[in-house]
Symmetry: C2
Subunit: 424 residues, 2 copies
Amino acid sequence: MADKRKRRRPDLSSDDDGEVHIPFKNRLKPDAAIIKTLEGITASLRSSSSSSSKTLTLNDLSLANACREVTDLSLASVQCSIESLVLSIARSILAGEGFSFSVPSRGAANQLYVPELDRIVLKDKSSLRPYANISTVRKTSITTRILQLVHQLCLKNIHVTKRDLFYTDVKLFQDQTQSDTVLDDVSCMLGCTRSSLNVIAAEKGVVVGRLIFSDNGDMIDCTKMGMGGKAIPPNIDRVGDMQSDALFILLVEKDAAYIRLAEDRFYNRFPCIIVTAKGQPDVATRLFLRKMKMELKLPVLALMDSDPYGLKILSVYGCGSKNMSYDSANLTTPDIKWLGIRPSDLDKYKIPEQCRLPMTEQDIKTGKDLLEEDFVKKNPGWVEELTLMVKTKKKAEIQALSSFGFQYLSEVYLPLKLQQQDWL
Amino acid sequence: MADKRKRRRPDLSSDDDGEVHIPFKNRLKPDAAIIKTLEGITASLRSSSSSSSKTLTLNDLSLANACREVTDLSLASVQCSIESLVLSIARSILAGEGFSFSVPSRGAANQLYVPELDRIVLKDKSSLRPYANISTVRKTSITTRILQLVHQLCLKNIHVTKRDLFYTDVKLFQDQTQSDTVLDDVSCMLGCTRSSLNVIAAEKGVVVGRLIFSDNGDMIDCTKMGMGGKAIPPNIDRVGDMQSDALFILLVEKDAAYIRLAEDRFYNRFPCIIVTAKGQPDVATRLFLRKMKMELKLPVLALMDSDPYGLKILSVYGCGSKNMSYDSANLTTPDIKWLGIRPSDLDKYKIPEQCRLPMTEQDIKTGKDLLEEDFVKKNPGWVEELTLMVKTKKKAEIQALSSFGFQYLSEVYLPLKLQQQDWL
């Protein structure tokens, strides 16, 4: 077979004259066989997650006092917390003691990676922010104002963006970084997520496939969203009633691959939910992915570019970004599998040499830095792949698969990956 | 009234204690009265566009020979055009004459703004691209390869991105700008739009409100899309069956304002369709807006930041961008009205001084450059507004309205604008 191929000298970069040149197409089993395997995996995942190994928390690790995490709170609880806080301030003032806020520190020195949780969390350091002090009076005023504005949002039950918040009092806030920073402080002080404060981020993610959910009261069937898909809602608290007959969630780094899979209705061939944030993950997409994973108990398989940024994006979905570490429990999705494009796929799938791009100095440095990160080190398979990438100094985009035909991704690469359970 | 206000010294930047401080809220008529006015406007627009003044074309202006525009072609016509082209090449080669392509020039010197059409179009200059010439052999090969790849897309009836196209033959194309450029050449040569070639752009726009349409065969009801809205499909040729009881289309520059209007379901108070490209307009959103305007015959009202970029974005929707001028007829939406935020609104709506930002040198230069552009000059109202902006050297974002309360935009500003038909 290999011999015969060599003699014909096939041009791997064209797919215009038939099936012969398409690597591995002949190894594919019938779809039904692949689906059967997937059903087994999903079932075992569900039984294990429902029975013994419940998700670890800081409490289980006796870290609840040493570390700090925020949770989703109802609007009523947020309102209640603010009112108690303000009452205690009033009492303090009436007692002639002025007032100050105790604000958790969010600096790097106060952050900790907890391997058991596979997340970055905040340690328990706090600092005092007194009103009657020349160096903190401004920040204390801003904090009070933000608390008041969030209280308004609770009463009206509406959502606003950070930008809206800033513009309600430009004179006080001066620039948006000041109101943004204090907003994160307020999240930590109240012990709730930023989305619990009804302050939301602009969304850019889309979802398509075997998922039904409610968005602000409207039932959405994601198999009936054409090629464009459903825009992921900016406010996770109005998302609910998730139902699905999917066997896995396919997390796609970029738009182009998403479009291919949506047009081919890949989710009808292999029951799945396809989601993408179109590049860097935004908060709304991260919250949505976590909610799907938690409620539907499905494996999450990630399809990223084979470069350090692909892996970095995967890590943001998986264990959070440093500047929102106080909220890592709600923003991260545990146990995401790295499906592809992995550095070892380049040879395995015979990606043509000209589709492999040389890594820049910066790429190589980023790759080496990632090798030092805890979330990579805990997974020997990932270390091996990343080491290979840094050694060969080659990267490749998902689109590189188009060299075997536009539909190679959906018709051969992904089905074969699923058949072979080839993820790490 | 003004006196009384002065004595109370209201703090305009807060909305927490009642209605008193909200400017103009008391001038609003009942919604039914405003809707009645809008119905009249929409009806007159429909009757005028259906009867006498049909859309002008290059033909009407006797410019069809002097200028070049592309049109939407069916996949079968594209396939047919490519096959005829290739046949003529084969004949030329068999006659011993080698072959060359005649490629329309897309340079600035070959572009023309046609005031009657309010669009930029291409003049008729072409250049020859012979195969048997050392300086053009590479480009001719690339052109042939792109024609072949597009022909494949026709046969398979699938859509791909420019990036996919590039990766099918990296060895030949070398970098993506080369395949992209030739793709635009091929559009011009075949006289069809790029989307007719089934090569699509990544979409980022969303739509919500009183619109029903089909996306790749699925019927989408945009009143039932929650807060996230429906992602605008990347491929306009699979969009159809548009139905609507809206009275206007609200074109919003940015995400934050879109979210406000979607959460408040503004489209249920005043029947409308709300659409945004979240910043710089992408091709998919421009095509979608034009299709809505043409099929539904609704007025389009634009809500932009009051800065030179807001107006520039409006101009891209309205009369196209320079580098896709050959396709301006299909990408542009005629007769978009500038609703706000207009420079004169800053005083009229008493936007607090601290929410007006000083324009940078670059802003002022961009503003002055815009004053020289034909699409601004043809509209005296726009010239007046832009002159005011450049004179006061102040800009403001849509979010500046949040200084009167988070919902001032949806509850007062927009209804009053509609009531007063305050657009240019």
